[in-house]
């Protein structure tokens, strides 16, 4: 999986992480590292572009959740604990939508990524867009 980072025009506080390739248990920490680096460089909001990610497992959700927590000022998930990170995700879903991290998916509601977001309830915690401009405007 490759990740590139850019910013929308005149919105330096928003980082767009563009992923290409599968996001799974073998590489989800790469996404956490990229988001953490963007945050350290001044980003307060992150848009994760998953339109070129054919597959995302629950590990990808752990990465998204960890970044959302970090952007909200909380400690990120202890991913080494595995189970506990996923419990924390469950609690966050119950807590409702957070404002600092959003994702871009392709428009196919039956895609593997859309299924993963919906079936885990993460789309209640992380706002999903199919239009980049709309996603940026929502920050």
């Amino acid at each position: 999986m490759n990740i590139s980072v850019d910013h929308p025009e005149a919105r330096e506080s928003v980082a767009i992480l563009r992923l290409e390739g599968d996001l799974d248990a073998s590489n989800f920490e790469t996404l956490i590292d990229a988001g953490t680096t963007a945050q350290a460089a001044g980003a307060t909001d992150i848009l994760v572009d998953l339109r070129k990610v054919p597959f995302m497992g629950s590990s990808g959700l752990v990465a998204l959740h960890s970044l959302a927590l970090s952007l909200g000022g909380a400690a990120g998930d202890d991913i080494a604990s595995g189970w506990e990170a996923q419990h924390a995700m469950a609690r966050s879903v119950e807590g409702g939508m957070q404002p600092h991290l959003k994702v871009l998916l392709d428009a196919d509601p039956g895609s593997a990524l859309a299924r993963v977001m919906d079936r885990t309830g993460m789309s209640q915690f992380i706002q999903v867009f199919t239009d980049e401009s709309a996603a940026i405007a929502a920050f």
């Binding site: 799974d24 248990a25 497992g57 629950s58 996923q86 419990h87 995700m89 469950a90 593997a112 299924r115």
Partner: protein
Amino acid sequence: MIENQRRLSLPAATLGDLARIREFIADTAVSLGANPDAVPDIVIAVNEAVANVLRHGYRGPGPIEIDVDQEQRTRAIVVRLRDSAPAFDPTSHPAPDLTAALEGRRPGGFGIDLAKKCVDGLAYRRRGASNELTFVKELSKHDERTAR
């Protein structure tokens, strides 16, 4: 009656093999007649189970064996995942508890819950020193959905 069977054996699987495993599951399911709408669910379920075995069972590389069958009578795709990690029955695992207090929480999470939601049946048995997890995806449900 089992009409077809394809097998993938990895003597020392790692997380880096997940992509290869997903490709095997998807290609085999399609070749056995699975509706394309059903394939992502099967792939997601097996991916989650294998990732759990490698991360929490073996905590490193370990042997994985996967059989994919089509049962002609029920028109179902059946995937059997075998590993040699310590005994663990994910089917008895509770869904993530959104309300439990910190001290009352038990291990469990989205991965297993996600796998359960993606298939029509999930069964576990311990066979000697191996765990065997069986996933069943009923193709007729997807055929009906697609025909509507």
